[in-house]
Chain length 328, copies 2
């Protein structure tokens, strides 16, 4: 009927985004302009079967909701921790942050179950794609994004395109090593920037200080029921706790030196920091660059991301950029 | 005359190569197939004027010799330490290894004096170009070369092309940092792989041990007149000197971890080691990769270069690849 045709015309071309992190499994409906129309979040299950089941269930709910919201879903974009072969839509290998998540073909089962094309990439790479389409990376030929959340991820844009590498292991920026010894990392190595500066690493140090009764300072309000996190470490340092301050200085140094290594290897013109700790790290990272980078790399700009949800937006951008071409 | 025409036909298309290192200034006539027809070497002068004068003088001698050798010189390719803008033919900035070598336009004066087109790039980048045209990098889409000589340099080939970076500071692999503290580097930072594993760094440690009378072991023959070098450190370690061995282990670790960082940033399929210490470092570097790289990066191949003179051959390759196009 004519009214159905008009409804169809009024629909907004949209993507279904899935973000698989160490803690949460999230799904969102995202429209062409990059606004998040609706968002869903659950705890990420620890087994492969439960996780696959929940992904499909959440996607089906979102697809139903999309009809009412006048969003026409063009495809599904998936952002996940671990190494991903985006050509095949397969998670090759993941660290301990996501269990049972190696050699997992996401494209075939999800595409079959939902009848939609599916794109998959690493969370850090998705964040870089988000910056390229919607953020500070728009029109920038060479930039790097570093996400400090539970872990540390990243993506590298060179000549306007992602660097995936020969075995899809490029831009594993969390596992840039800044110490021959250094703390153990979830990847099995040690001295990685993730082991110094991620949310999990700071939480580990905050808990250690708290266990030794060295975290709380006068005037600091920590409820007994509340889990100790990186935020407590940052408040303690701000309130004069020198041990907390030393931990954060070391974390900032490690992250800064890791970023200097990125500058000396691919030399981007812009570094975009995102994730919950981005604004905390921006200033110390700039300071470390001024101390330890080659003169020719000093002109680099460091900014914090303006995007609310880089991984979800980047996963959507794969759909929105490629769905019309229908090529994987 | 007819005999002149035939002479002209029999000439081999060739390049003049210049290599400016921390120690020597070398010039070579290199023919299209990559063989070095004639080579000249002098000590690299410490002042800008003397260096420019000597470059021109050596090139003029080589150009005269080329006539007798039936080599038709198509242009001049220059390999130099420091950061280079190859589009302009300008050395932007150099470390202390080459004095008075910042903001130096090499193309204009040399091209004007010799009447030949001039190409310039960083020594590490030239080594990568040499591997791409004549060495293990032939037909390889993504590879990295790391040169351990007096200093440490490198070049990165991505999609068959060099990565130069936004300020021509990419692939400064000697200044990949593997320790938050660590030994001081010629670049002003500390903990760079060059400060641990270069010929100069090993020589520094060998001299230190020798000064403390801890270098020589029984049966080791060191003449008083002979300067102490990395080679003495290696022989001492092989003959059971545990202090020399510890220095070399730390150097190998540092180089290996630096290369792991390269793998986690650009993820090449091949690492080519060149320079005098390449064969020494190959095995320990492979070992460190097996210990500290992500599973997805373990498939990397590490080989030593077969090329006699990577920097000279790479400088020649710029001429031989681009001279017919006559574009800089
Ligand atoms: Ca990544
Ligand atoms: Ca280089
Ligand atoms: Zn790691
Ligand atoms: Zn350095």
């Amino acid at each position: 009927s004519i009214s159905q045709d008009i409804d169809h015309i009024l629909e907004t071309q949209s993507a279904l985004s899935v973000d698989l992190g160490g803690t949460n499994l999230r799904v969102a409906i995202i429209c062409m302009k990059g606004s998040i129309v609706k968002k869903y979040s659950e705890h990420n299950p620890t087994t492969f079967e439960d996780r696959m089941h929940l992904i499909l269930q959440m996607c089906k709910t979102a697809i139903q909701d999309a009809v009412c919201l006048n969003c026409r879903i063009l495809g599904v974009g998936i952002s996940t921790g671990g190494r991903v072969n985006p050509q095949e839509g397969v998670v090759l290998h993941s660290t301990k942050l996501i269990q049972e998540w190696s050699s997992v073909n996401l494209r075939t089962p999800i595409s079959d179950a939902l009848g939609l094309p599916v794109w998959v990439d690493n969370d850090g790479n998705c964040a870089a794609l988000a910056e390229r389409k919607f953020g500070h990376g728009k029109g920038v030929e060479n930039f790097v994004t570093v996400i400090t959340g539970t872990g540390i991820g990243g993506g590298i844009i060179h000549h306007y395109e992602l660097i995936h590498g020969s075995t899809f292991c490029a831009a594993e920026l969390g596992h840039v090593i800044v110490s021959l010894e250094g703390p153990e990392c979830s990847c099995g190595s040690r001295g990685c920037i993730e082991a110094y500066a991620s949310g999990l690493a700071l939480q580990r140090e905050a808990k250690r200080l708290n266990d030794e009764d060295l975290l709380k300072v006068e005037g600091m309000d920590v409820k007994l029921s509340e889990p100790i996190t990186a935020a407590h470490l940052i408040s303690a340092a701000r309130m004069g706790n020198s041990k907390a301050d030393a931990v954060l200085r070391k974390a900032s140094s490690a992250l800064g030196v890791g970023i200097v290594n990125i500058l000396h290897i691919v030399n981007p013109s812009l570094v975009i920091l995102s994730g919950v700790l981005a604004s905390y790290y921006k200033e110390p990272v700039q300071h470390i660059i001024s101390q330890r980078a080659l003169a020719s790399a000093q002109t680099i700009k460091v900014v914090t991301s303006d995007l609310e949800e880089p991984a979800l937006l980047g996963a959507a951008s794969m759909v929105l950029d490629y769905a019309t071409r229908r090529t994987y």
